[in-house]
């Protein structure tokens, strides 16, 4: 296996992707249940492999090269493996994202056009230390009928190889080569150049890492770089609600991308709102900075220009007092990362102006930014969050790993009939109908 080049592995994945598109949901989901069972059955071998990675990581931690957080992310346990197996089963049990008729249009009598959801093809992921990422991405790819190229971090190489082998063995009935493991760092650069063969890239990891991938490939990338999210307390806000929303948005879980980083407050309510808010944040241990106007009201450190562009990812927050709704919108569009913003106001027109005005994938009215998440949105297993504006935006579910095909069913229809002087007009009527997919591989009757 190790003697195959990255090009060969990707070519195998391309071949497999063509067959995967013909595999029934039953076969894809069944294989995923087999993967879940195998992970639990092979727990001992997986944990032994993981132990080797953890030992090496702890050595590097002592030398100051790794952080404790990295070692924690790396470490698997019996209960973590059970969670991973459960996650695979929940992906398996989602509705089939494939073969759905997205629209149907009658072009003329007997000439029917169906837009049908299909897999994208070959999806490559490059992820950092968490070995559970490998399993999650493989599961999401298989459920959506895509071949997966998996490249994990070298710090998790033994764990990744063990998990990959369990997955490959458990999916022996799935077209061979559907999942490929890439191990060397230099192979990533090969991958980034294979824009004819790889249809989508999903990097997972730090903002800097995702940016690096985006800047070095012309393959479409699904991922998010930063989450500089805002809560705006409007002049017409219910201030008690505003305090709860702004508190939840920061304190409930500060390490994640949908936590608020900058609190914007209308100057007409700042004096009434800020003292209580600041006291509540302080009790939770939030480190605060503010602009000059905020510091006239509350005693916080001065914010620098850099603060407005910073994703703290921690119990830190910057406060800015603005003189209008439009100043708040301008601040968000200048300093935000197009992720998630929330306005707190009792005036629904002002809410609509804010929501239309800010160029972000999720815009909220009277709700915490922390709701921006695939699970909370009801999308099921989350593929990732996208800050790109094409293909899929915001929290992305399995549907983000699909594209569509046009199926045209005719009865010998010719374009010549609809062209020239005596051109027959098209009907172009939408209708409710499903393209009948015929028999799929692995389907029981």
């Amino acid at each position: 296996m190790t003697d195959r080049t990255t090009e060969q592995k990707v070519a195998e994945a391309q071949d497999a992707a063509l067959s995967l598109a013909n595999l029934s949901d039953e076969a894809r989901s069944g294989a995923l249940h087999d993967v879940a069972d195998a992970i639990e059955r092979e727990a001992e071998a997986i944990l032994a492999a993981n132990e080797r990675d953890v030992t090496e990581a702890e050595r590097l931690l002592e030398q100051g090269e790794y952080t404790r957080a990295l070692v924690d992310r790396l470490e698997l346990s019996e209960s973590k493996l059970a969670d991973i197996a459960e996650m695979v089963r929940s992906v398996a049990d989602r509705d089939d994202p494939l073969g759905e008729t997205l629209s149907a249009r009658r072009l003329d009598d007997g000439l029917e056009l169906y837009r049908v959801s299909v897999p994208i093809g070959v999806i490559a992921t490059v992820f950092e230390s968490r070995p559970d990422a490998l399993v999650q991405i493989a599961a999401l790819s298989l459920k959506s009928g895509n071949a997966a190229i998996l490249k994990g971090g070298s710090e998790a190489s033994h764990s990744n190889r063990a998990l990959y082998e369990v997955i490959a063995e458990a999916t022996a009935d799935v077209p061979d080569g559907w999942a490929q493991l890439i191990e060397a760092r230099e192979d990533v650069n090969t991958l980034l150049e294979m824009d004819d063969a790889v249809d989508l890239l999903m990097p997972r990891g730090s903002s800097a890492f995702v940016s690096y991938i985006q800047d070095n490939t012309s393959i479409p990338v699904l991922g998010h770089t930063e989450g500089v999210c805002h809560v705006f307390v409007d002049r017409d806000a219910d201030l008690s609600m505003a305090e709860d929303v702004a508190y939840d948005a920061k304190v409930q879980y500060p390490a994640v991308c949908n936590a608020v980083e900058t609190l914007l407050v209308d100057e007409r309510v700042a004096e009434e709102f800020l003292p209580g808010m600041v006291e509540r944040y302080r009790e939770a241990g939030v480190e605060l900075r503010g602009d000059a106007a905020a510091r006239e009201i509350v005693d916080v450190d001065p914010a620098t220009d850099d603060d407005w562009d910073t994703e703290y990812g921690d119990l830190e927050l910057a406060i800015r007092v603005v003189d209008s709704l439009s100043a708040a919108v301008d601040h968000v569009n200048t300093h935000g990362s197009k992720h998630t913003e929330s306005i707190v106001t009792e005036d629904s027109d002002r809410a609509a102006t804010f929501m239309r005005g800010v160029d972000s994938s999720s815009v909220f009215h009277n709700a915490s930014t922390r709701f921006a998440d695939g699970y909370r949105y009801g999308l099921g297993a989350e593929v990732g969050i996208s800050t790109g504006k094409t293909h899929a935006r915001g929290p992305v579910g399995l549907a983000g790993l699909t594209t569509y095909k046009y199926h045209l069913q005719g009865d010998g229809h010719l374009v010549a009939t609809y062209a020239g002087e005596d051109a027959k007009p098209f009907l172009h009527e939408s209708f409710e109908g499903e393209w009948a997919p015929g028999h799929l591989v692995g389907e029981s009757d």
Copy 2:
């Protein structure tokens, strides 16, 4: 105007894009009707500018540097301008692609999530000689609420500038700077690097030109490179229908990307089918090539390996005899360009196998490949055809120039309520509902 840099122009377009998102359909469509009227009113000035381009192009034609086809594409006339104005009016009168609620989900009582269509932002187009491309792209961009960066070919520079000025003047009520003209070739390279500012690139022109753009930017590209389309005559085909479909697919208009280039014929019907088919093609002046098996039946030139990968774009066609349906699918996936393929068969199971098996954006059963087109599909004005697999695929209508935003309406909802030991469960109920967009700029009551 000429002293502004490309960076400044793009920054102005970015600002304008934010306001454009708040412009009512009434205002966008009204501005487009003004553009159409202005093009007709200013016909004389536009034609005078065009005349300068045509004179220069004819000089270069005499020197053998330009082709007659290029000069023809370049040349405008009173009636061509009337057609262009009509095209602008038809774009104006399409349904509004913005503000549509694509899905609505109740996360909990009073917490409603809406997915709403919005503009993408800044769309840049780089196109070759046809000056009507500038008007079409500007119209499609404005209708869909996007700012447009327009870069035409230097051979059409006077025409493009005249058309651009007419458009800019007629849209004075639209946020300033929404359309920007880029004129120098070196500015294209600047543009290709501005992936933080430009959200989508739409190159128009030859395959080589589109490939060049794709290979030199990390901005998402909407375009198609090649159209190597296939018709497969199955063993169970109605051979008379097959002859009509294969004829129409090549002869009706051979210069376009959805014309067939390779005819695949099952060996079980080749002897009966090919002689009549070849005779009919010959009468239409189609130059034919075939593989060894085809040449045992009909007297055509030998096809080389290159033929299978060639987009002739002319009255030329390659014929290959295959021994099975799966051999036909393999040929298409190996040599095709993921554009459009058609199977002619009376067996709907075999049709479904072909349609699922070939990895192309449009797959037809008993219909000519020439139907693959936005107008025939009923999408209205065609933005382009995409051979990419993410964002939009196949013929793309105005919806391809939109993305979506999640709007969450709450009443002070906090994530803390739904987390931890006493977590309240989500409802996650889909419902029929429209997000109320509030008042838009330029809307009458």
